[in-house]
Symmetry: C2
Subunit: 674 residues, 2 copies
């Protein structure tokens, strides 16, 4: 039957190689160039990520400017110019870096960086050429040269090679740096997925960078650097055996230059201590004297299985650059703008883990309540290697992890215990890794790797437990507060009417109210003028109390704090300060004034308040002192405070009971029913 024969021939004739540039030109949606709006954002993102990576590698504080303007050569065309103060790129590398896909310096390095693929910026050049037939103009100057190289480059799609359209030398008024200019089909929109929001997100988690955006209408927005500390350059590390596949181990051994396996393993893999090496070799029935490249077949399989089962040194976090608790908190405040939540959960940072031989870690922050919208899905802020992820939320492991937590157990609404929960809540999640497993080359979503998912869930659950504790406290407080309000309003009315009925004088109700309420309240308010905080503590319990007050705040704030009364002590490293309050009689009140220098980035939500000297269930507006504080006032301070007031109140043997700090209230009195 010659028909089928002809067909096999015909089909064979159609087989051919596909250039990677051709593939991505056709499938540009994979790179994030789906539509003109997203294309512009993707181009901005690729250029800015490169600029930040370059500055960090050079150890300089990044100074990045992004200018977007309308281009008159056609409809829907914009000109994008991104320039940085990085070390610059040598002339000989410029064409390949910008005009060739799958070319770069960070793919083969085991350390955290934004660009890991060698695709991003050349994809932007490709897209510009495709949609406007215009070359990219690249200017770059390295410090050791006098002038900058200015090249016009396009991607030769069929061969995936750069084509230089023109070249010249130019003077540039900066010592070193790179500038990319593209004309591309684009759409400029503001909103949640705009260049402005991308830069805002970037500024939040890169406070050492100065970012400037000039929008097409001329609006200039500057995100000034909030820190002048250059982040430690994340170190290159060796691949870790955990999660390594057979083929990868084979490639590592084949490339190793050591003479024996025993020499090669500790030098080519992380975590292999001398003791672990012995165990591994024994378990794999290998001597260690083998030529590394010769270990194949069953021997290789035994070696990998031994490496996976022997206990190795845990992964090091040196190659990772987490955001950290302080910046997560500050970042969230930045997002909030005018919104004031009433709870900042302590940020959770998980220890580094290994996935496919590469370390990663997860960080989570959460704010809740206050003026956040209560009846919408929670807002989720995703970051990977300090880059905000604005697209493909539905495809991201971070989203899957958030949705897999049963938030109903932690106090949020969630239909059927699935999907994004509803509530006045913002969750920030950061994944840092030397190799982020993105779902596609557009780097907008993290794949559902089992290891990453597990860490995300653990971090989210830890954060959710803080949330639950807060919501429980809040409910308890609210209950007490409502009871307080009702009693203060209704009891006097009842008393008045009863007295009137009986023709007797109205009794003083304050002691009765105190007896029923049995709480100590802490309220904060902004002072009438200047920056600072007014703190009022009232003793609505039926006995006199000596209370200790403790505050937790951003560490850098502690040393700048002034006010009356002065604190009894501070711990600037932990961001803590404490006070002994004057003895408070029943219904007694005391005020405290805290002041900090104008311009400090700080408000009431930065403080967590704790009170010792009264049971937790009697506190409104503050919490009981957590167990990890080992601050204890010297006994004599308490006694002195006590003595000062003792005469006026005339408390007898009860005084000793009142300063019992052991937590459980031994007094009788009305118990709260809940």
């Amino acid at each position: 039957m010659p028909r089928t024969a002809t067909l096999a021939e015909q089909l064979a004739a159609k087989q051919r190689e596909i250039s990677v540039a051709e593939f991505f030109e056709r499938n540009r949606q994979i790179l994030g160039f789906d539509n003109p709006q997203r294309a512009l954002l993707t181009a901005v993102k690729e250029a800015v990520d490169n600029a930040l990576d370059a500055a960090e590698e050079a150890g300089v504080l990044p100074d990045v400017s992004v200018e977007i303007s309308k281009d008159d050569s056609g409809p829907d065309r914009y000109r994008l110019v991104v320039s940085d103060n990085g070390p610059g790129i040598l002339r000989r590398e410029l064409p390949n870096v910008f005009g060739r896909l799958l070319y770069g310096s960070r793919f083969h390095a085991h350390r955290q960086s934004r660009g890991q693929q060698g695709i991003g910026i050349s994809a932007a050049v490709l897209y510009a050429g495709l949609t406007t037939a215009r070359a990219a103009t690249i200017t770059s100057k390295v410090e050791e040269e006098e002038a900058a190289h200015v090249l016009e480059v396009v991607v030769d799609t069929q061969r995936n090679l750069p084509k230089i359209v023109s070249e010249r030398l130019d003077l540039w008024d900066r010592p070193h740096g790179t500038r990319v200019e593209l004309v591309l089909k684009a759409k400029y929109l503001r909103g949640r997925q705009s260049p402005l929001e991308y830069l805002r997100g970037t500024a939040i988690v890169n406070p050492h960078a100065r970012l400037v955006l000039v929008e097409p209408d001329g609006t200039r927005t500057t995100f000034e650097r909030a820190s002048t500390e250059v982040p430690a350059v994340s170190k290159e590390v060796l691949p870790h055996p955990y999660g390594l596949e057979l083929g990868e181990l084979a490639a590592i051994l084949k490339q190793s230059k050591e003479k024996s396996l025993a020499e090669a393993l500790p030098k080519r893999l992380a975590g292999v201590t001398p003791r672990a090496l012995k165990e591994v070799l024994a378990q794999a029935s290998l001597t260690g004297k083998e030529d590394p490249a010769s270990v194949q077949g069953p021997g290789l399989e035994r070696l990998l299985s031994a490496l996976h089962s022997v206990s190795l040194l845990p992964p090091s976090g040196e190659s990772l650059s987490p955001i950290g608790a302080t910046l997560i908190k500050r970042g969230l405040r930045n997002v909030l703008g005018e919104l004031r939540p009433d709870f900042y959960a302590p940020p959770v940072s998980r220890p580094p883990r290994i996935r496919g031989g590469s370390p990663f870690l997860v960080e989570v922050g959460l704010v809740y309540g206050g003026s956040l919208p209560p009846d919408q899905p929670i807002q989720l802020l995703r970051f990977a290697n300090r880059v905000p992820l604005l697209f493909q939320q539905g495809a991201c492991a971070i989203t899957t992890a958030v949705e897999s937590v049963d938030w109903r157990r932690y106090g949020l609404d969630q239909r059927g215990g699935q999907g994004l929960p509803t509530g006045p809540c913002i969750v920030l999640v950061h994944v840092a890794s030397t190799r982020i497993p993105f779902t596609s080359e557009s780097k907008e979503a993290i794949a559902e790797d089992p290891e990453v998912l597990k860490e995300l869930q653990l971090a989210l659950q830890a954060t959710a437990r803080h949330l639950k504790a807060h919501i429980s406290r809040q409910i308890r407080r609210q209950y007490a507060s409502e009871k307080f309000t009702i009693i203060r309003r209704i009891l006097p009315q009842i008393a008045e009417r009863t007295s009137h009925l009986l023709g007797k004088p109205v009794p003083d109700l304050a002691p009765v109210i105190t007896e029923i309420m049995n709480v100590v309240t802490l309220e904060t308010a902004a002072p009438e003028t200047g920056p600072g905080l007014m703190v009022t503590i009232t003793n609505y319990t039926p006995r006199a109390r000596v209370l200790e007050l403790f505050a937790e705040m951003p560490p850098e704030l502690v040393s700048t704090l002034t006010g009356t009364p002065a604190s009894d002590g501070t711990d600037p490293s932990l961001g803590r300060a404490w006070w002994t309050l004057p003895k408070l009689a029943p219904n007694g009140q005391t005020r405290m004034e805290l002041r900090w220098p104008a311009g400090t980035d700080c408000d009431a939500s930065d403080f967590d308040w704790y009170i010792a000297g009264v049971d937790e269930s009697r506190l409104l507006g503050a919490d009981a002192l957590p167990g990890d504080w080992d601050v204890r006032l010297p006994r004599q301070v308490i006694e002195a405070a006590e003595a000062a007031e003792v005469a006026s109140v005339g408390a007898g043997p009860a005084a000793e009971e009142e300063v019992d700090y052991d937590g459980a209230e031994k007094t009788a009195g009305l118990e709260e029913d809940d």
Copy 2:
């Protein structure tokens, strides 16, 4: 400052090319090899998609077998064997097809196929090598050769080239075909994202294929072909100018062999008629005599803008292969298993549109109610080019489109009008295109292209309108039905007690009930034995009626239908049949029996019932005849039916009113209040 200088040099030294195989090995999650479970499914999918494509190209009915068994060479290892009866692959092409990424025959063809990237199967070979260091064994035989070629192939990752490990000739007992054998790290699980479900989904939309799955425990499942019709091979078409980018037009003109632009345009682009050509050239200020390759710069831009604005021939659907209404309905029934919905919405198929020069079309099917779970998110079945999409639902434009419809307006629950709606509902969506814009190389989600999204929304809204009409009818019927039940139960009790009280005899209530209810009911039930359907029509209206009954059913069923009474007529092409019922007195009832051959794939849910002769608001269990039916019974038929009963009922001048088919009831009677 030599430090920065050194740095630029150091950075330059690290720059290097990244092989595409190396890139995908590192980023295997992008290809769908995230974890052992998904990796197995992806490998099955790539092999089966290739097998189906090959059989269709050869015009043979596909016969594909998938065998998965545990491999003892290591833990978590499975052996996957996929074989087909396609035309086979020539020896010289085998290594590249299976051992090299970005190599294939379908990337450059403008027609609908499953594989479009030239990555899939070689990625599976790459993954197998990476995780088990084992070569893939490929067997292929073309009809013109006596023996099959058997090759063991691996991917040389660093060069992205095939490496042949061994080669031999072997006899194979089939005339032509291909067999792929892989040993890979995998996890075999049943459930929603399993090979079994993938093959089930594939069988649903490829009824011409015979698919066999042998699971690791030996379970053999065969999806027999439900149709022996080889689907028309989708034709290759020229790129359409709509949505074409400047760079793409430039490449087309550069590659054209015609001497002049006027010759090249109609031969290289779809839709350019002679009249359109004239308009385009005039609008672009071109003569048509230009050398195609010379059209560049402003001329090229004017040409593209003219091609985008002049009205061209609309896109042809010839290159597309939609599923079609019958198969969509059958596919949904297949998914349902034991579940019985009470509504099948008429499947909606949109006309072909163009996106980036390539045609695409959208089809939607929906079932609702019955025994589907009422309080869960709706089930969404996604298909692209007849391939089921099982992963990344959250990232897919189909999901975005479903979520963007305000289903509350169409009768489903949906929190805040956003997200997946809740309800007893399954929605099937198919996107067919010569170039599906997938979000990544794993081809599991469609990117949010504005054109595709718009078509999806239109198709979903059209389907949702059918749903809304059904739910409204259902609510109306339920209301009437409840009223009916209450009246039949309560009225006799009232009558009995009142009569008792008054000492009078209980009156006959039937006429009163009929007067109040004023409905005609249609009920269906399965016959006591054998396949078929019993239909009961009752006239609960206060007057005698001659009714016409119309049924709509799968077209192939019409000609096999028997039963009593015989129909007055049928239209097998539209799947319609109709009957004139004997005149029904008030409270009169008639039964009908329909029979079809045993083994026919058919049940009650395949029938839509319509009744003429009574107003729509008086119908329970059937609908008013839609306007697009032009079936009208000859007047004499009706008159004969009328005459037959007229004596027994003795209706006078009212008779004429009763056979008024104009829809609006002119009789007085009780009006429904709703």
